[in-house]
């Protein structure tokens, strides 16, 4: 495939001696196509920044290969990799003004002064930092430094742009505006970019595909849509989505015509066998224990359903979040209208087969996703 820009193959990162040190990234393989925006999403310490730094060349690759544009680069120093990077923290050169810092990135490209000025002006407009171009890094705010660092990366014409939490310190309103502009800027120029973030909204808004990482392991690498609809395992299911997916441990009881899940506190969810495909029924029959997941907005209220008890009822101005004590845990429902429910009142709940995600009770791997089975 010629349209692969970046390829990671079985990449391991150990801090300390190989096989004995801290195993930060475990056998990571992924590919990034030209012109694609990829988000590495995970909580802190999940290995996403280590991965980015290995691609940039700031951290040595303990094992495995990284190729960029068909060349294996894992042993190259950063200077030979032709990648640009925006940093999360303080990365501007203190003795230079913001304008000089951004223009500095173009020094190697030997452009004429007027072209450089034009490009700097246009990127400054994009990032709303025109008014601070003449200032020094020590006299501007963290958010402004971050945007200047982002500008310094985006202005370059590199084979790969790495963005490390590029908007973490910005005001929410500005962040929302910039997301759209930056995506447009990257797409318009056909740049390839990898974004590291712990903010799923940012990942969803910017990325064509999201790589969810946890404990140094790539959990799932797919489009935002598919990650939401078909989480590969329990971790992805509960990590992505706001509010998080409701999960309950359950035992399986499958007969020819019925399929029942036994939850804690004696709650039974009964379904007709025909609600599930053959393959899923076979898979479920082999297991005693599973974990059921259901997204808060997919939980329906129904008088003849199973019963929980309302613990919280909050109207957020555009939606209602209801939390109910249910099956030894908490079930969260999202509704679009105000709900007339008192705390302590019983609530009938219906979990449609089409909304159920079933995960293996031990490994956490997904067995079925409701949507495609119903």
């Amino acid at each position: 495939m010629t349209d692969i820009a970046l390829l990671l193959k079985d990449v391991d990162k150990f801090y300390g001696p190989i096989d004995y040190g801290v195993h930060a990234v475990k056998k990571l393989s992924m590919d990034v196509r030209k012109g694609e925006i990829i988000a590495l999403l995970g909580s802190s310490g999940c290995g996403k920044t280590s991965t980015l730094r290995m691609i940039a060349g700031f951290e040595a690759v303990s094992r495995g290969r990284i190729s960029l544009g068909g060349r294996e680069i894992q042993t190259f120093p950063p200077v030979r990799r032709n990648v640009a990077m925006a940093f999360e923290g303080y990365s501007l050169y203190p003795p230079l003004t913001v304008r000089e810092n951004i223009a500095f990135a173009l020094k190697a490209s030997k452009l004429s002064q007027s072209t450089v000025d034009e490009k700097v002006a246009s990127i400054a407009r994009l990032l709303e930092i025109e008014d601070i171009l003449g200032r020094y890094p020590s006299s501007i705010s963290g958010g402004q430094q971050q945007r200047a660092s982002l500008g310094r990366a985006l202005i370059r014409d590199a084979s790969l742009h790495l963005l490390d939490e590029p908007m973490g310190q910005l005001e929410p309103q500005l962040r929302a505006v910039l997301r759209g502009r930056i995506k447009h800027y990257i797409k318009e120029r056909g740049l390839t970019a990898i974004l590291v973030t712990h903010d799923q909204t940012e990942a969803n808004a910017l990325a064509d595909r999201i790589a969810v990482m946890e404990g140094g392991v790539l959990q799932q690498f797919d489009t935002p849509q598919r990650i939401k609809e078909r989480p590969a395992n329990l971790f992805t299911g509960t990590f992505v989505g706001e509010p998080p997916m409701n999960v309950f441990e359950a035992s399986v009881n499958a007969s020819e015509s019925r399929l029942a899940f036994g939850l804690k506190e004696g709650i039974r969810l009964e379904y007709a066998a025909s609600d599930f495909s053959h393959a899923v029924r076979d898979a479920l029959r082999k297991r005693q224990r599973v974990v059921l997941g259901v997204r808060p907005y997919a939980v329906k209220r129904s008088a003849d359903g199973v019963t929980g008890r309302v613990a919280v009822n909050q109207w957020l101005g555009d939606q209602t979040h209801i939390a109910a004590d249910f099956a030894g845990g908490t079930l969260v429902l999202v509704e679009h209208d105000r709900a007339r429910l008192e705390v302590g009142q019983p609530i009938g709940i219906r979990l449609e087969p089409a909304s159920l995600h079933v995960f293996d009770g031990e490994s956490g791997d997904a067995i079925s996703h409701g949507e495609e089975l119903a």
Partner: protein
């Protein structure tokens, strides 16, 4: 600074005066002594009223010390030259070795790096005399005793750990991302070290160099044991003023004044530069 009431201002002034008097008195007294003869220095009660004389300085500069027992040759100017030479070269060598090492320790954690850095620091733990005894033996075998080369080498025990540990801290204070950003923009690590790390750590390097210079300048015991008269710095040379016929207080005072002048000048000059460098607040955002 917050506003002070007049009373606070007065108390503050008194406190400052006390501190200044306490610390400056010996130096001022020595400065006055350097313009007096032994007789006026030793009279009782002491007085600050006297007829100044330049005899002490003249004796030091000509190298002829007049004592009751006759004229004595002293090599004070040569000692002063030795001090300047030994301190400058030692600090230069320590900077050349220590600054790159400090950078390596600050930026690259490799196996044993902490141990090596600590070992270098531990040179400062041992009492110098303890180190000196075996060293004297080795230096005699190696033919290094009483050579400038040997002395400068031993002075590294003083200068190198100091520079290494102070400068390392300054390098660690520079955000690594600044260097990464420079490297990813197409520069080698060496040009990053030269163009980014060195200038940003400049004030720290200057401070460490100054401190190392003062420590080297004030060293006594290494030079006392390892060098003979023609290689000795002023600290050891000053012993010559304790003569058979008494102690030449006037000359000692003049020698002290002359020998603190270079370090004092350097400190005053560097202080201005240090404050300037640090007040930029450029290292962190």
């Amino acid at each position: 600074m917050e506003a002070m009431s007049p009373l606070e201002r007065v108390l503050r002034g008194i406190a400052l005066t006390l501190v200044v008097v306490f610390f400056m008195f010996p130096i001022v007294w020595i400065f006055l002594m350097s313009f007096q003869t032994n007789e006026t220095i030793l009279r009782i009660p002491p007085s600050i009223v006297f007829t100044p004389t330049l005899d002490n300085y003249a004796a030091l500069i000509t190298g002829k010390l007049q004592t009751a027992a006759g004229t004595l040759d002293i090599a004070f100017m040569r000692n002063l030259g030795n001090s300047v030479f030994l301190s400058v070269v030692s600090v230069a060598v320590a900077l050349a070795l220590g600054v790159p090492a400090a950078y390596a320790f600050a930026r690259h954690k490799f196996r044993g790096s902490e141990d090596i850095a600590f070992t270098l620091l531990s040179f400062r733990f041992a009492p110098p005399l303890l180190v000196l005894l075996p060293l004297t033996q080795y230096f005699q075998w190696l033919g290094l005793s009483n050579t400038y080369f040997g002395l400068i080498w031993v002075y590294q025990l003083i200068c190198l750990p100091l520079i290494l540990w102070i400068v390392r801290g300054y390098f660690e204070d520079i955000s690594a991302d600044v260097e990464y950003a420079y490297r990813i923009a197409g520069h080698s690590w060496f040009s990053t070290f030269r163009k980014i790390a060195l200038p940003l750590a400049g004030p720290g390097i200057a401070a460490a160099g100054l401190l190392a210079f003062i420590f080297a300048w004030n060293n006594f015991v290494f030079a006392l044991v390892l060098a003979s008269a023609d290689k000795q710095p002023v600290t050891v040379g000053a012993l010559a003023f304790v003569t058979a016929s008494g102690i030449q207080y006037g000359q000692i005072a003049a020698a002290i004044v002359l020998s603190i002048t270079p370090t004092l000048a350097l400190a005053l000059y560097a202080q201005r530069y240090l404050v300037e460098g640090l007040s930029l607040g450029a290292v962190k955002g």
